[in-house]
């Protein structure tokens, strides 16, 4: 079966996949921080690094796709039944993602603290990891709404043509 996957598709899916993996890595950090002890300090730092690298990859893939491939989809959404998929969800997502990214870059710095010896550092890492997971999943959810906005616009066009 031939796979008809364009570079636009691959980049968009990589963006979402890196974003979800970054969120999962943040949750991994959260769990390690809950059980912080000298024995899991290296693993916690590795998880924090994975979260940062995944979010950086999601930033690059998403940014490239947004700049090069999104404009035609934006035009479709705005003409379709869900214009708020761009006006509210994409506009919020494209700027909220910067917050998730900054937090993801902060996480490996905070994870270098001795969490098993410092309640404040442990609380800090738990907070950063939770904020990454919450904002990251909100961004993922917004992506689904934007995708649905495009789908509805296309279905709207097709159903108008069929009438």
């Amino acid at each position: 079966m031939p796979l008809n996957i364009s570079s636009s598709d691959a980049i968009l899916l990589a963006h979402a996949a890196f974003g979800v993996t970054g969120c999962m890595a943040a949750l991994w950090v959260f769990v390690e921080a809950l059980n912080a002890r000298p024995g899991n300090a290296d693993r916690l730092q590795l998880a924090a690094l994975v979260a940062a690298v995944c979010m950086a990859a999601a930033w690059i893939c998403g940014g490239y796709w947004y700049v090069h491939f999104y404009p035609p989809e934006k035009a479709l959404i705005l003409k379709g039944p869900w214009p708020f998929a761009h006006n509210l969800f994409m506009e919020t997502k494209e700027h909220l993602f910067f917050i998730t990214g900054i937090l993801a870059f902060l996480l490996p710095i905070a994870a270098r603290e001795k969490l098993y010896a410092s309640p404040a550092a442990r609380k800090l890492v738990l907070s950063i990891a939770a904020l990454i997971a919450i904002t990251g999943l909100a961004v993922e959810g917004a992506g689904a709404v934007i995708n649905h906005g495009v789908k509805l616009a296309l279905l709207h066009d097709v159903s108008k043509g069929a009438r």
Partner: protein
Amino acid sequence: MHSAIGSESSKLTPATSGFVLSAAITVLFNTALAWVKDSSPALNGFMKSLSGHHWTTHGLVDLVLFVGLGLIFMSTRVAQKIDANRLIGVLIGAVTAAALGLALWYAFF
């Protein structure tokens, strides 16, 4: 029991406290820039002229600000003077305010 556990610390290193304060300021700046950019076509156009797209410039400015402020706060140790728990509260408050600020702005303006 590890020897460090006995002497529990509520202090953060200069690097951590500096970059936490920097992150709190950067996320608030990010939302403020989104508001101003959205209401000023001139600024939007200027940011587009710098990198080819306003969003790319916005992200780069955020990154430069985060790293720049973080290094300044780390070397001056200014953030270390703030109680660690208060600093965590500042970060959570800043992220919450910045995120809600974005959503409410695009919902109503």
